[in-house]
Homo-oligomer: 363 residues x 4
Amino acid sequence: MHHIDVIRIPSRSPGDTSGLEALIASGRVAAHDIVAVMGKTEGNGCVNDYTREYATSMLAACLGRHLDMAPAAVEKRVAFVMSGGTEGVLSPHHTVFTRRPAQGTPAVGAKRLTLGIAFTRDFLPEEIGRRAQIEETAAAVQQAMRDAGIASSEDLHFVQVKCPLLTPGRIAAARARGCEPVTADTYESMGYSRGASALGIALATGEAALPDLADAAVLHDWSLCSGVASVSAGIEVEHNVVIALGMSAEATSELAIAHEVMNDAIDAAAVRRTLETLGLHGAEGLERIVNVFCKAEASPDGQVRGMRHTMLGDSDIHSTRHARAVTGAVVASVVGHGMVYVSGGAEHQGPAGGGPVAVIARA
Amino acid sequence: MHHIDVIRIPSRSPGDTSGLEALIASGRVAAHDIVAVMGKTEGNGCVNDYTREYATSMLAACLGRHLDMAPAAVEKRVAFVMSGGTEGVLSPHHTVFTRRPAQGTPAVGAKRLTLGIAFTRDFLPEEIGRRAQIEETAAAVQQAMRDAGIASSEDLHFVQVKCPLLTPGRIAAARARGCEPVTADTYESMGYSRGASALGIALATGEAALPDLADAAVLHDWSLCSGVASVSAGIEVEHNVVIALGMSAEATSELAIAHEVMNDAIDAAAVRRTLETLGLHGAEGLERIVNVFCKAEASPDGQVRGMRHTMLGDSDIHSTRHARAVTGAVVASVVGHGMVYVSGGAEHQGPAGGGPVAVIARA
Amino acid sequence: MHHIDVIRIPSRSPGDTSGLEALIASGRVAAHDIVAVMGKTEGNGCVNDYTREYATSMLAACLGRHLDMAPAAVEKRVAFVMSGGTEGVLSPHHTVFTRRPAQGTPAVGAKRLTLGIAFTRDFLPEEIGRRAQIEETAAAVQQAMRDAGIASSEDLHFVQVKCPLLTPGRIAAARARGCEPVTADTYESMGYSRGASALGIALATGEAALPDLADAAVLHDWSLCSGVASVSAGIEVEHNVVIALGMSAEATSELAIAHEVMNDAIDAAAVRRTLETLGLHGAEGLERIVNVFCKAEASPDGQVRGMRHTMLGDSDIHSTRHARAVTGAVVASVVGHGMVYVSGGAEHQGPAGGGPVAVIARA
Amino acid sequence: MHHIDVIRIPSRSPGDTSGLEALIASGRVAAHDIVAVMGKTEGNGCVNDYTREYATSMLAACLGRHLDMAPAAVEKRVAFVMSGGTEGVLSPHHTVFTRRPAQGTPAVGAKRLTLGIAFTRDFLPEEIGRRAQIEETAAAVQQAMRDAGIASSEDLHFVQVKCPLLTPGRIAAARARGCEPVTADTYESMGYSRGASALGIALATGEAALPDLADAAVLHDWSLCSGVASVSAGIEVEHNVVIALGMSAEATSELAIAHEVMNDAIDAAAVRRTLETLGLHGAEGLERIVNVFCKAEASPDGQVRGMRHTMLGDSDIHSTRHARAVTGAVVASVVGHGMVYVSGGAEHQGPAGGGPVAVIARA
């Protein structure tokens, strides 16, 4: 079984790997133990956000130097999930996850953090946002749960997926083969890819059943969702990357994870409940937080608690950018700062307008 | 002495006056009692945001029909302050302020809300952001306090100013006369105009002394500020419009105002303290809020509580837009929704990175 | 038969009507002769561009004062088509079209400019971008041609349509009735509305046949298009407004119109050919131009003359904004300045990536 | 003396080095001959455009593999100038410059393309946009001319400089030392850095004299400019990189360069004159073009040929983005496509509102 460590590193720019280098140099982290890195990079978080692949390239090159591997091989070994967009008070950073064999004897009766990773095959452009992506993701989530040693969905607290989007080139390639993608709008394709991936998570956890998950359900039937799903789309992948985070009685670290579902983008109470579940109180409790992970979106009905919002009609700033600024600020106002992981676009991830929030803290 | 009423009206679009029409038609408000309207409109809140003047034009035309006055005359009688930008969960609305002679006898020992308005002369482009704007604003603030019947700065809780900005045309006009404006960057001119106006408020309240208020202090000496200043710049004015809000023992309404200073953009505690000062507790307390008014900005040192933010280096979204999204979300998470007045750009309005917050509620 | 005059007026801001006032005051134009106004306003030209309705409101109020009519009645009498977006060198202006009975005897053998207008009924949100909008537009185009006295499609040179878009509120209203709009993305709805309207024009002119114009053809079958269609979407209408411009042997003004189809966004040669058709040569020829009208778009295949463009993957600036900047600059480089009417989004208006260009000039 | 080759390579994304790899693999280019790479990358071209440093990092890593050097060492050997922003029809690409010893005997009486490079020291934040940057740049330009073997300014046709900008961090660092940078606005700092660098070029060529080049002249005295200056600012450097391009009777390639000054952003005639100087006529002439290099800006007086433009008051899209779209389209309409180097922000580079244009073609 696993011993997990999680370290949050500030980054000075998208290509900055000095924090990771220092961590390795200090001996705090061994490069070969790193299984996943989740980052917030300071791009627009939308289609043409190259800060995600830039960060991934530099991190993979950095680890490749330490592991004596080509960067491409590192990307097959480590689950890199870069989420673009640090609107408002969000602060660019990476969260590094390491995994070693269990250390000593698990504490009796106390579950600890564990994690697993998996990758799907590459998707064809016309598969994105549709049934194929749902089913492949579900299979990968189950594989990641096995890799983590998470026995049941009750112990699963957060599933992070990185998924592809449609570019003009990919759309043209599909059409050249006579296949029509789910949309020709590149920004909208991000929502479809996130939505289908989230439904895949819901399928894996049993929150949704296969017969309900037709193509037409994606971005339409908001009753279908997963309370542990967090999905980020990006131009830098053609497959889905899955990180499953949960608890296990056999894991041996000092870390724990808990989650709640935010009912809307300003649901500070859900964040506070998550802290309470972990027994975090006052300033000392906040000190024990390693990171917060959550999803944000502009409510698709155009309202938050009965008041009209303007995010969906704003042609200057995409709604995912607004949503990250909002939920990032709400989380920051609870936990004391903005160096948290808030990702935009919560289609089928929690209820419409809301999304899951998870906290990893020292027990 | 005055009897003040304050009503918040949702707006469906920048040109929507149906709410005001309904208010007048219902008899709730008499058109001739309206002395001020503060609005949030759904533009970018920056230089080329014409939703502010569009809203003002339609409101002035609407009141003009009821008062049998030309719109231009209405704009000299009523203080219109439109603040653009409803990023995130902020919801477009207007706050209508009416003023009648005191009704009945003031409650013994209980101060109530009062307000006054004033206008400066038009400014030359080269006066914006400089000493002339500081001094003229100070004089207008004192005039508005007298108009309100606010005896001392201790009873002054919020001073809202609308001020002009520099356009390419105004800059060219100044240069044609051999005068150089404080900046040739139109967006940056908004900050200079807000900053000088805020220093004018600080001068009027005694928070700053005239000898310290040289041109060079504007946007440089952040130790100079006012804890009650709220300033919005716009293309729709060439003079400053001032609304002074405070408390008076002779005012007779059921309304009260209190304020605090947010130390940074995520200072939810300051919002909660303001509610406590007004005796607002729980859901019932939130029901009694008429509106919240506050300022937001990206901390000029590039950090919020020690964590780097990226708002000042974002060339796609101006920092005032980010800041409104942040503080709007924080306030909404406390008071329960986003139909609140949050304005961006808090130069010399509260400490660097923070700003004043005021709440009007039924006593 | 008709005597048409066309005057281009610079505007200083979206709400500026001083140019129109001066034109009427000078006697150059009689308010009751005005049948159409086409404007370029300085908003983003996308969903939340309120400069279009602001301009329309102010123009209708201005004409209402002169005609002693309510603004709403003016909007039913005059065809207002405001196109947002003056990216690059495009310069905000209005083009005023007047129509009087024919003056004197038509020149023998010489056709002159004529125009007609028409309006469709309001569309339900779920009709936008679909067959109903196609058919209603086609009927209105034929009505406008009759109104203009344009006998055949050969004499029809430019059909300008203003059409609605989907807002979050309109989408929610449709769904509340159990009807699903063609898209839930507000920006994308502009393209659907323009596309269906353009196919309606193609149907009216015989460039397309009804059986080919199924819902599925809109934004998919690029072989269907009209070489005289120019369509602008806006939040300010719920119906289509149609202006048909053409030539007639019975019209009596000194003005003529000609058009060509730009093959792509940089097809300066098509602009030059149009000038040649009108006999415009050299600087003197350029002086005789009253205005140029054209459509621009980012080629949907992601390439211009074999070179990849990045407009369709840009999540900071919508592709219609890029396209207006491009074609506006190309036209300006030919005709000498940027005070021309270039509108973005040329779906089914000319070939994919290109669009019609028309020039009105003194004969 | 030198034998220069220049190859233009399309890039599929900012991190794409496949074109360069293929060029080296084919033997067309030897890695050790590469002295400079100028690229257009698809970021916003403003402060937070990391596509420039991403491209540079990947190109340096690629060449480092071939040269067996660390990427940092490659960046000291090769002049990388990445210009962000491919608005409109501009197409991302790299231009690779190689230099070998002269091959054979120079053609008698025929000058050919030559080039040289140089680097300044790193600048302190407070030096940017001021005299120190002017003088250091001038010295580097003269060094690059010597490196190129360009004997006099008459043979100098284009000087490309890459220069730094101010970030929130660099501004804070300067202030911590008690030094005030020229501006606290990060976007505006790009203009100051470009402007001072251009004045440095003007000083080196004799187009301006040292006594006129006080700090106050930068961005104010538009009469001071260089007709061969092209400067791009970026977050990825702290020093200036200089590439001098000109003609020499001793150079031996088949390539030539010529330049003109565009009087404004739509001056297509200047582009055509440059082609004529090089003897390029018709389609065959266009085929001989290797690349076009030019600068674009929004005229600071707010007008282009007497018509108001809105670029300087647009708070959604920075004026340099508009300007690139405009001039890129104009150049593309002349040379037939958009894979050309157009860089935004032409302060002191040609006349106000205009800028230099250079063409490299096969003789």
